[in-house]
Symmetry: C2
Subunit: 116 residues, 2 copies
């Protein structure tokens, strides 16, 4: 099944794409950066840096974190964070629909998979 | 100026995105893989591997190469190669137009650049 992903470069050092959005979604889902990092098979440090990068990109944060006690910290998306993820996914879905014809055209031209 | 780029994943190991398409464009422009590689600041080997990957992806090649004499080899896009680049760029342009509103909305939320 063909997937279309998009990346938005606001300027030379600020962009959002599939990776950051997926990370935000997983943080929202699990309430935890470390759990989201595990699921994306990246280090906690890398996940934290990516989340921090998005957090500093806009005029309001996308994430709120709480340093916890015994159970570790907790993280959740802000209202704006949810809106950012929603916007991005809406653009992606719409793009896949809008470009269905061109994509099917390219799919038809794919080389058939080699027999195993 | 915000840019939107797309990536199409046909399956888990076949995709086209900004990098490969830009490489094809530059090869078409210069008639040379090594010149295109230089302009993209990548090794000749990496450019060749990427071009070869796209060349094997579809039922017909996107590139034709000729091993040259003293002047080195020559490469050019096939008709299908031109069509692939054209399709991709058309989708990109259309996407940027279609999602202008959502993108402007995100741009408004960007944190103002820090004074230098």
């Amino acid at each position: 099944m063909t997937r279309l992903t998009i990346r938005i470069d606001f300027d030379s050092n600020r962009h959002v794409g599939h990776g950051k959005i997926r990370l935000l979604e997983l943080i929202g889902e699990h309430g935890s950066i470390s759990q989201a990092a595990r699921e994306m098979k990246m280090s906690y440090r890398r996940a934290w840096l990516l989340a921090d990068e998005v957090n500093r990109m806009f005029s309001e944060p996308v994430l709120e974190t709480q340093h916890g006690g015994a159970g570790g910290g907790h993280a959740r998306l802000t209202t704006f964070g949810h809106a950012l993820v929603g916007h991005y996914r809406a653009i992606e879905t719409q793009a896949l629909k809008s470009f269905k014809k061109q994509i099917v055209e390219l799919e038809r031209r794919l080389r058939p998979a080699a027999p195993i």
